[in-house]
Every structure is written in structure tokens, then in C-alpha cells.
């Protein structure tokens, strides 16, 4: 009985300790959220730029979640303006945006957005202007979102599809997308297109 009581006391403390350490340790979750898991319910500020609002098909002000973007699939680029690989990959991500926009079917069913990890709104805007980025970018200056998505290394790409489960992560990978055309084909197949 005494042992059971001890275990009962120890268990929540151990769970809390492990959870907090995992959440805090980038190396532990460097591969990011697992495919098949749900994208966290994160509130993003509705973009100030009208072209961004229009692209994401958002109406109103305040905040929105990925779950509220009215398309079947959203690609999330996790980046930082301080990350050399993100800088190198920025033109390719622009190319991905162009290819999606030029795709006869995906242009209406897929959206691309970026999250600047540890980047203020000013820094995100600096990155946008440097690389002439046309898709919506969101700041995460205090790493709040970064913690919610497993403190991935940058760049990291997530593909979130609205399925019967909810906003399901169907692709999660650190580093640049190896082959853009294959990536787009895979997305097209997922959407039956």
C-alpha cells in the first residue's frame, strides 16, 4: 500500500519532468512532429497585408488557425532569417510557391505559409524583402510556436492536410525539400489530383 502511494506520488513528477525536458530539448525532437499526428491548435494573427489575407482566404480580423484555412492542404515552412540553410533555400521555396500557383488544380487547393522561428515581425519582414517572398510569413519572436511544434531545426517543412482526424500532419522533414516536382506530385496524389 505504501509502495503504491509512493508510486502514485512519483509518477506525475516523473511524467512532468520528462515532458518538460522533451519540450525544452531541441535534440530530442529535432525531427519534428510525427507524420500522422495533428498540427497543434495555434492562433496566428490575421496578416496585415491584404494579398496574404486573400491568398489564405481569410476574412475578418484577429487570429486564425491552420484548421480555419479553407483549403484541403497547407504547407508550412519553418525558417529563420538567421539560418544559413534557410537563406540558401529561400529562392527554392519561392520556386515552390510559383509552381503551386501555376498548377491548374493545386493553385486552389494548397496554400504555403512560413513561420519565422525566433524572428520578430521586423526580422520576418527583412527576410521577406531580401528574398522577395510573396507568400505569407508569420513571426514567432519568443519561440512560442517553435515549442508547440517540437523545436524543429530550420528549415523544416510540414504538410498539413484536413482529414477526418483533423489537421493531420502528412509530411514532416528537416532540411530543404529534395525535389520540388516530386514533392508537388506527391501532394497532388494525396489530393487525388
Amino acid at each position: 500500500m505504501k509502495n503504491n502511494t509512493r508510486l502514485a506520488a512519483f509518477f506525475p513528477a516523473a511524467v512532468l519532468c520528462c515532458t518538460l525536458l522533451l519540450v525544452q530539448c531541441p535534440a530530442a525532437l529535432a525531427d519534428g512532429p510525427a507524420v500522422g499526428s495533428l498540427f497543434p491548435d495555434i492562433a496566428f494573427a490575421v496578416p496585415e497585408r491584404s494579398e496574404d489575407r486573400q491568398y489564405l482566404k481569410l476574412t475578418g480580423k484577429g487570429t486564425f488557425t491552420i484548421q480555419q484555412i479553407p483549403v484541403p492542404l497547407v504547407i508550412v515552412q519553418v525558417f529563420s532569417m538567421y539560418c544559413p540553410h534557410c537563406q540558401k533555400d529561400a529562392p527554392r521555396t519561392n520556386e515552390l510557391f510559383r509552381k503551386l500557383n501555376d498548377h491548374p488544380k493545386l493553385k486552389d487547393t494548397v496554400r504555403l505559409m512560413g513561420i519565422g522561428i525566433g524572428n520578430s515581425a521586423y526580422e520576418v519582414d527583412f527576410f521577406r524583402k531580401t528574398y522577395n517572398i510573396s507568400f505569407p510569413l508569420f513571426p514567432d519572436g519568443e519561440f512560442v510556436i517553435h515549442k508547440r511544434i517540437g523545436e524543429v531545426r530550420t528549415p523544416h517543412f510540414l504538410v498539413v492536410q484536413h482529414t477526418s482526424k483533423g489537421a493531420e500532419i502528412v509530411y514532416s522533414r528537416s532540411g530543404a525539400i529534395p525535389n520540388l516536382d516530386e514533392f508537388i506530385d506527391t501532394i497532388g496524389r494525396r489530393l487525388g489530383q
Binding site: L16, C83, C86, K88, S120, R153, T154
Partner: protein, 209 residues
């Protein structure tokens, strides 16, 4: 029994605070090579210089082998010194790569950026190679150890420099002196605003240490 419960919860919460704030984005460029120092005392020195003082001259060897003197820019360029504490640490590794995007801003404002660390040249060579080709010189303040950082009063008690941005105008006068919390990257907007002000007015920002 009650005591054990409290101790265990204390350990759990203590572990959480111990690893704070290991929350900086580690770029794929560095993978698992970054040392995690944990949360450090935000500042640990007493600056001996302030805005308006003449900057002490120095000569340091760059990673490239070239010796760079502060005085070589006198009358020609504004100089921005970016002191970082140590190579292969999280915040520092997430700082200079971003400054690689600032070349045009520096050129527009007639300024040069000099990165300075107390690490030796081989260490700085290996570290900065992971950042891509930096456009600005990176200088080693290794020997006599931390002498230049000490001359500005920003050498910490453990032998590394503070995380500091110091701006010196063409006349050799300090126009901006910002020692940041060592655990946080300085806000880019503050740096560029001060740089533009210094160039535009010739007097610059008046932030005090």
C-alpha cells in the same frame, strides 16, 4: 511520504528551469554540434566606456589571417563591432548568419561590420565555415586573452565577451553601446535604426551601457 512528493516535484520543476532557455532555433547548418550552456547570468561585466568616449584602438587578426586595426577605418567608415561570447553555442550560432543579409544596409550607411570573439582562429574558422561565406571580417580576441573586450569593459568573469553591439563613427567616437542579455540575440531593428541614425545625423543613437 509528503516530503518525497514535494522533493520529486521540486526536482521536476528544477530540471525545467535548469534547461531554460534552450529554445533557440538550431539551424540544420549546425545539426548536433552546438553546445548548450544553459541559462547564463544576463550580463557579467562593468563597461568602462560610454557613448561619446573615443574608442580605444586595437589590432586583431581575422580568420583570414589579415590583421585589422580599428584606426584603419578612421575618416573612412563607421564601424560596428559585434562581440559574441563563444563559438559553437546556440545564440551566437544564430546571430552572425543573419548579419550576412545586412551587407547592403551597411554599404548604404557607409559602415563596416567586424565580428569579434575570444575564440582562437582555428575554432572561428571551423565555426564560421558552417555559416556560409560571411561578407564581414571575423576577428579573434584570443591572445592576450580578451584584451579588446576588456578594453571596452565587456569581458565577463569567465573569460568570454558579453553579447554587445558597439558603433563607432568615422571620427573614432563611440555612438552606440549596447550590452545585451547574453541569452538573447539583439533585436535587429534596434541595430539598424541606430546605424541609420548614426549615418544620417553624424551623432547616432545615445544608448548608454
Amino acid at each position: 511520504m509528503k516530503l518525497s512528493w514535494k522533493v520529486l516535484w521540486g526536482v521536476a520543476v528544477g530540471c525545467w528551469f535548469l534547461v531554460q532557455p534552450v529554445c533557440w532555433a538550431a539551424s540544420e547548418a549546425f545539426k548536433d554540434t552546438i553546445f548548450q550552456p544553459g541559462n547564463l547570468k544576463p550580463t557579467d561585466s562593468s563597461p568602462t566606456l560610454k557613448v561619446g568616449d573615443p574608442a580605444p584602438d586595437f589590432a586583431l587578426q581575422a580568420v583570414s589571417g589579415e590583421t585589422i586595426r580599428l584606426s584603419q577605418y578612421k575618416g573612412k567608415k563607421h564601424v560596428v563591432l559585434s562581440f559574441v561570447p563563444a563559438a559553437w553555442t546556440p545564440v551566437c550560432s544564430d546571430q552572425w548568419p543573419g548579419y550576412n543579409l545586412l551587407r547592403q544596409v551597411f554599404e548604404e550607411n557607409d559602415a563596416i561590420l567586424l565580428g569579434i570573439s575570444v575564440d582562437n582562429r582555428p575554432t572561428l574558422y571551423a565555426w564560421t565555415r558552417q555559416m556560409g561565406d560571411l561578407w564581414f571580417p571575423v576577428l579573434s580576441d584570443f591572445w592576450p586573452h580578451g584584451q579588446v573586450a576588456a578594453s571596452f569593459g565587456i569581458l565577463r568573469s569567465d573569460g568570454v565577451a558579453e553579447r554587445a553591439i558597439i558603433m563607432i563613427d568615422k571620427a573614432g567616437v563611440i555612438r552606440y553601446f549596447q550590452v545585451s542579455d547574453i541569452n538573447r540575440r539583439p533585436e535587429l531593428q534596434d541595430i539598424l535604426t541606430a546605424l541609420r541614425q548614426m549615418h544620417a545625423s553624424g551623432t547616432g543613437s545615445v544608448k548608454k551601457p
